[in-house]
Symmetry: C2
Subunit: 151 residues, 2 copies
């Protein structure tokens, strides 16, 4: 679960002259305790925290999500139109990809070891420092195929 400790986060932040704040620690913990297959938008996270009595401003939420994605701690996902979703960026055995229905946004996660290898190799070949590697499949789910609704 807690593949990423508070201590490790603090170390990585301080190394760059940044700081570990209670807000950042709390947000990381939310993602670490998030059930498998869940993905949170900025607003989802804000509401989740508010429900727990944790009052972290939306600005800080947005800043933290972006920061952690840039650090490679979180993955930024485009699972629906209009807003991003986030989840922990986990290594090998937990690393996965997403099959998304473009009409109803139903999302299925699936694993494939080859893809991560391909991503790692490709980044390395170009001298890029890998942060995340995700296969996104856009498709229409069985239910939506049957539906007569347009688009």
């Amino acid at each position: 679960m807690a593949s990423y400790t508070t201590v490790a986060l603090k170390a990585e932040l301080n190394e760059r002259g940044w700081r570990l704040t209670p807000q950042r620690e709390t947000i990381l913990q939310v993602f670490q305790n998030l059930p498998k297959g869940n993905h949170l938008s900025a607003e989802d996270l804000y509401n989740h925290l508010s429900g727990e009595g944790e009052n972290i401003s939306l600005s800080t939420i947005y800043r933290t999500l972006k920061l952690m994605a840039r650090m490679g701690i979180l993955r930024e996902l485009e699972l629906a139109e209009g807003h991003k979703h986030y989840e922990l960026n986990q290594p090998h055995p937990h690393h996965h990809h997403h099959l998304i229905c473009v009409r109803c946004n139903k999302t299925i996660e699936f694993k494939n070891d080859t893809i991560l290898k391909t991503g790692t190799k490709t980044a390395q070949k170009e001298g890029y420092h890998l942060l995340d590697c995700q296969l996104t499949i856009h498709a229409i789910c069985p239910a939506c195929q049957r539906s007569l609704l347009p688009l």
Copy 2:
């Protein structure tokens, strides 16, 4: 080049009770004539067309891009923060993926036959109708690694 003819577009549209308009035809042609490796945002497309004397409204541009992505004619790409980019969705020998620097948005295209096979198989297994399948690698390019700028 013109893997997708105007006639085919018209047939596919009419089949669903929709119409082939001069605007839709023009927009498809722009993408078909776009040099390899180019990606257009809605505004890019709008400016490109304006430059050619083609005056298609931004509303229509947005509607058409979304429509064609939903039809599987265009791919919707997240190559930069804040707005989408589009390119033709081409089959096998031209199908490719993207390695993106999250700091400067420099993008490199690369090919990998296995990924498309994986995507096709995964969609099929779940009964989804495949529209697009793209591996997105988020990373930091060599230049940005050297840069001292934050984030």
